[in-house]
Every structure is written in structure tokens, then in C-alpha cells.
């Protein structure tokens, strides 16, 4: 009897305390939940939406569902890593496609992680998936940089924690930073210049790549980055090859 009375008292106290809390501090009180929802199609708007989408979808699918190549790896869009399979794939293929079209030797390629907009699944890679990966109408360009601009590019990479690169290896764990360009001998002269393959978006200072803004030379390769990806996928498929991912220590911090 006494015990239950005690309990009631204690609960009343709790209520009063809660009440005081609400009355005295009318700011905010939070509760959060997270719900996962799988709806059935009982809501009319859902149906209207589907009807609106259908003609667009049908039209688009004809074009976008074409399978370009098979991938035997997942290429995940990752943040916070100096090197990713996805970044390596796109930088490598850009070098390969551009080098065939460009009259002269390209030293290396640099793109940006932010511009690769989705992950590629293992299995069939459709034209639509490539559009999702590279939705922008960016073109490949070759930018000629001075030694000074090149050095700024390297320290930019260091500061942002890496970007997709090809044809070059950078080791930040040593002092000074070790930079190896695959297709040329180590040239330390101050007059040397570097031909960098990138997109016009980045060459125009996008993603804060200001070192590209006053280049010695700026040349268009003549292909959009997306079309380069599509072309590479189609060629690989024609040669009976699949997309394979690689991580090989292109950028090393420690």
C-alpha cells in the first residue's frame, strides 16, 4: 500500500518536473526517428507520377539501356581516399583515348573526384550508367603548364587529399615530394613544361584548380569526357575485355 503510494508520488513528481521543463524552456525539445518505407501504389499521385514519367522513360530507354561493356568489379564513388578504382579507370581511359587523338605527347592526366557522379556496378554497364557517371558536357583539353604551375598543381593534390590521376605517381611521404611521370625522363630544368590532360571545366578553374587559369597553351582534344568513356567501353567490349579495377599507389601520403 505504502509502496504503491510512494510510486504514485514519484510519478507525480516526474510529471511536475517535466511540466516545469516545458513551461520554463519553451525553446525546442527534440525527438528524432528514422523510418524506412516501402509503399504500395494506393496513392493517386503516385499513379499520376508514373503516367507522366512513362513517355519520357520509354523514349529514353531505347537509347540508354544499351549495354556497352561488362565490368568484373565494382567501381564505388568514394570520398576521402587519395586513389580510387573509379578515379583510376576514368583517368586511364581518358589518357588512352586522348593520346590517340592528340598530336604530341601528353604527360599525365588529372581529373576530379567531384566530377565522377555515381558508382559503377559489377556487371552490365549501360549507356545510361555512363551518363550518370559523367552527366556534364565537359570536353577533354590539353593544358601546357610551366614548372611553377606544375608545382602548384602537385601541392593542390596534396592539400585536397588526392584526385584521379594517370601517367604520374606522387609520393608525399618523402621530402621533397617524389614525382614520377611515366612517359618522360626526370627533367628538373626550370624551363621545362608539362602537358596535362584534363576537362575544360577544371581547366577553367573549376574545383578551385586556379593553377590552370593562365596556361602556356590550351588545346581541345576534340571529344567530350563522356564520349571518351563510352568509346573506351565499346572498344573494350569489342576486344572481349571487361572493366577491371586497380589500385596501385599512385598517390602516397605515408
Amino acid at each position: 500500500m505504502n509502496k504503491s503510494r510512494n510510486l504514485v508520488l514519484r510519478f507525480s513528481f516526474l510529471i511536475i518536473v517535466s511540466l516545469l521543463f516545458i513551461e520554463c524552456k519553451p525553446s525546442v525539445y527534440t525527438k528524432t526517428t528514422q523510418t524506412s518505407i516501402a509503399l504500395d501504389s494506393t496513392y493517386s499521385n503516385q499513379k499520376k507520377i508514373e503516367e507522366l514519367v512513362i513517355p519520357y522513360k520509354t523514349d529514353l530507354e531505347k537509347e540508354m539501356n544499351e549495354v556497352l561493356v561488362i565490368s568484373n568489379d565494382e567501381f564505388t564513388r568514394e570520398k576521402g581516399k587519395p586513389e580510387t578504382k573509379l578515379g583510376n579507370l576514368v583517368a586511364d581511359l581518358s589518357m588512352e583515348v586522348a593520346q590517340k587523338m592528340y598530336n604530341g605527347n601528353i604527360d599525365f592526366c588529372m581529373l576530379n573526384f567531384g566530377g565522377l557522379r555515381t558508382s559503377l556496378p559489377k556487371g552490365e554497364i549501360t549507356r545510361g550508367k555512363v551518363f550518370e557517371l559523367m552527366p556534364f558536357e565537359n570536353e577533354l583539353v590539353v593544358v601546357t603548364l610551366s614548372k611553377e604551375q606544375f608545382d602548384t598543381l602537385i601541392s593542390y593534390i596534396k592539400n585536397v587529399g588526392g584526385q584521379p590521376i594517370a601517367g604520374i605517381k606522387i609520393n608525399f611521404s618523402t621530402t621533397p615530394t617524389q614525382v614520377k611521370i611515366k612517359n618522360r625522363k626526370n627533367d628538373k630544368s626550370l624551363n621545362t613544361t608539362y602537358k596535362v590532360l584534363t576537362s575544360d571545366y577544371l581547366a577553367n578553374g573549376g574545383d578551385n584548380m586556379k593553377f590552370f587559369l593562365n596556361p602556356i597553351n590550351y588545346e581541345k582534344v576534340g571529344i567530350k569526357l563522356r564520349d571518351a568513356i563510352i568509346q573506351y567501353c565499346v572498344e573494350q567490349h569489342a576486344q572481349g575485355k571487361q572493366l577491371t579495377g586497380k589500385i596501385e599507389g599512385r598517390i602516397i601520403y605515408e
Partner: protein, 313 residues
Amino acid sequence: MSNRRTFIKQSFLGSVSLLGAAALNPLSAAIFKRNHTKITILHTNDVHSHIEPFPANDPKYPNLGGVARRAGLIDKIRTEEKNVLLLDAGDIFQGTPYFNKYGGELEFKLMSLMKYDAATIGNHDFDNGIDGFYKMLPHANFPFVNANYDFSNTILKNKIQPYKIFLKEGIKIGVFGVGVELEGLVDKKLYKETIYLNPIVKANETANHLKNKEKCHFIICLSHLGYEYKTNKVSDLVLAKENEYIDLIIGGHTHTFLDKPTTVRNKKNKITLINQVGWAGINLGRIDFFINSKNEAYYFSSEAIKINSKKKS
């Protein structure tokens, strides 16, 4: 009545479950005699033309998202709640071939069908140039708000308002927008003569106007500044600290998945909430505010509702 019940349940959390119903009822009647109005804010950001769900084989988001399901969910909430505002924090465009092929027409038509109340402009909404955005405007029957882009020397002159005011059961809600710095992010040939103005200054100016001139009870900022940066670049967290009158910042740009809103003490030592729901329409954000008889928000609850389009088996 049903509102009231939800409120009691949610605000007392654990302690309620310990109490017998008999003890609760008379008390609750006394406490909650005064009226409160519930405002339900639903929001998205960075949907990036994701009209269909991610496919089942997507490495990160299999079966998630999709406009049809989102529309169904919004429909359902509208049948349950009286005062719903549906808002978007920008980057509606770019991300799937729907945008490459149709230029954003379908995105705007779908948002109109879902009855979006307002949206702000993200950097990718300039991807087909300011002209590309302008061309799509007739497909949107909801307004775009932005207070820190000066469009006066562009085709968007007089097409974008700094804010819009909504009235819900006597509660005046001011909604305005701010956008990210375009230089270094968007090609100048796309945004043309758009002038970026300091978002903190413009946000404070606009919120002050909404509070003191328009007498809004509640102020929402649709922001495409981004949640947080390692550098000193202006972000939602900075704006939250540096403002006086914003109750809620609905953010975007950084694709940040927040499970619950971030609570920040602003310059007036009051609470400014920040929420952001990732990207691609994977989550729908929901925040319910309870406004007391003095027209102050005194309680909120929030949900990040994951849109799972997997068919029920």
C-alpha cells in the same frame, strides 16, 4: 485531438510509458488546454534528376529513392497533416540522362505535381546555362527563392524572388533562399552576369525583414551553401551561428545525410536548426513544429524517411 495525443506521447518520451492512463488523462487536459498549431515541413535537396529509384544492383543505394514513391509518401502525409510545406534546397538538375535529354522539364513537372511550395537554386541548376534554367521555368508552378544572387543583368531578372510568405492557420511562415559562390564552381559562361552577394549579410537582411517588417512567426532558409567545410568557406553551420532570426535552415550542396537536425545557438542565443537529407531523393526530410499560442515554436520532432522502392514481397 490526434495532434495533441501525438504531442504528449512524444514529449514525455520514456516517462509516459511508466504511467498509468488514469493518472495521465486529467493532468494532460490541464497542461495542454491551450492551443498549439502543428506545421509539417517536408524537404528534399540535391535530387539531381533522380526520377527513378537506384537499380537493385547499385553498390551504395540499391532500390532507394524514386519520385513515384516519394509522391505517394507525400500524399499520405498530406492526408494526415493539415499544415504541410514541401520545400527543396536546390540542385534539382543534373545526374541522370533525363536531364541530358529533356533539360529539366520532367523534374519541374513532377515537382509541380507533388505540389512543392518553393525551391532554391543550386549550382547545378545552371548546368544548361542561365538560359537553360529560364527555358524550363514555365514547367514549374512553384516559386524559386534566392536572396543573394543578383540577377538584374540576366534573363532571370524579376523571375526569382528573395522570399515567399505562407500562411498556415494564422501562422506566418517566411521562406527565403541563399546560394553558393559560383566562381570556381560553375563556368562563367553558364551563370553569365549573375552576381553572388555575401550570403550571411543577405540572409540576415532578409530574415530581419521577414521578422520585423512582415511579422513572420517562423522563418525558413533554403540554403545551397553546404553543411560544413574544413576551410573557412561559408556554410550552414556558419550561417546558423551568425544569424538572428532563422528557425530552420534546410541545406544542400554537400550531400550530407543527417539523421536528425543539428541544433545551433544563434546570435540571439535562440535555436536555429539545420537539416539536410543527402541527395538523389533517397530520404525525405520531415520536421513537425508545434507552435504555441504566443506563436513560438516550442517543440519539434523529425524524421529522415528513407524511400525504399523495393516491391513488397
